[in-house]
Subunit: 131 residues, 2 copies
DNA sequence: CAAAAAGTTTACGTTTACGTAAACGGAATA
DNA sequence: TATTCCGTTTACGTAAACGTAAACTTTTTG
């Protein structure tokens, strides 16, 4: 039987963050642990949400932006209007991600350039020392 | 003869930021405009740097991180040691960008998923209205 | 059973990246 | 000439995302 819950320090060390951070995310409504008395018990769903938040951070998303995305994954009951609004949000997000992809590829190209020039300079210096 | 300098409000409106932002970047040492009396005169080099800063922001970089990257592009005189340290930085940055690429692709996949489910729900609702 | 370890709440502190307002100086325009 | 539109400096304000410390329970362990 797999562990069905986690304590705060377990999640903290697994994701290499502090308990304070996790409490802060809860305070912000991003996580909803159950309680055993005072102690928080996190379910797998919250673990997943935490992973999504941290992935968001790696991409430069704010907590609110991550929340928006996470809420997209969790439909809830939705009427036609809500579904259309959701589609709009999906499009917006995808546009941002597409721009980000382009920016990242550009940066990588430039880093390649820097590396090439760097290696050439090193080769030149080597050449000077061993004529 | 192309314009060889820009005033603060020109750059601000071109990049859709406020003059305050530009002054802040200067204060942080990210931009080095010349002066005509009190008035700042930005050269093309500073315009490029500004574009790089803003691209960095789109990718979630802090100003300090953007500064680091920009400084990589501007070699300056470098000895063997500095060149190796530069290569290290390039590698680090590339690793971050690589992880970001993976994260972004994952998010896009998930957005595709959301969109598909969304369209199916809409189709189902349509079906209900026109049996 | 006593001490250490891990949990809690409350609350103030910190850094980043600007916003906003005050108070002022030239230049262009009605 | 008066007003308006840039521009400037100085300075305090703010939101986000936690860090840190105090003061206190609860659990675990030697």
């Amino acid at each position: 039987m797999p562990a069905t819950h986690y304590r705060i320090s377990e999640l903290a060390s697994e994701f290499d963050i502090t308990p304070r951070t996790i409490r802060f995310y809860e305070e912000k409504g991003l996580l909803n642990p159950e309680r055993d008395g005072q102690t928080r018990l996190f379910r797998p769903a919250d673990r997943v949400r935490l992973a999504l938040i941290l992935r968001g951070k790696r991409c430069g998303l704010s907590l609110d932006e991550s929340r928006e995305i996470i809420e997209m994954y969790e439909p809830g009951q939705s009427n036609v209007e809500q579904l259309h609004s959701l589609l709009d949000k999906v499009r917006e997000r995808r546009d941002v991600l597409t721009a980000q992809l382009a920016d990242i590829k550009d940066m990588m190209q430039e880093l390649d350039d820097v590396e090439r020039r760097c290696r050439r300079s090193l080769a030149a210096l080597e050449e000077d020392n061993h004529p």
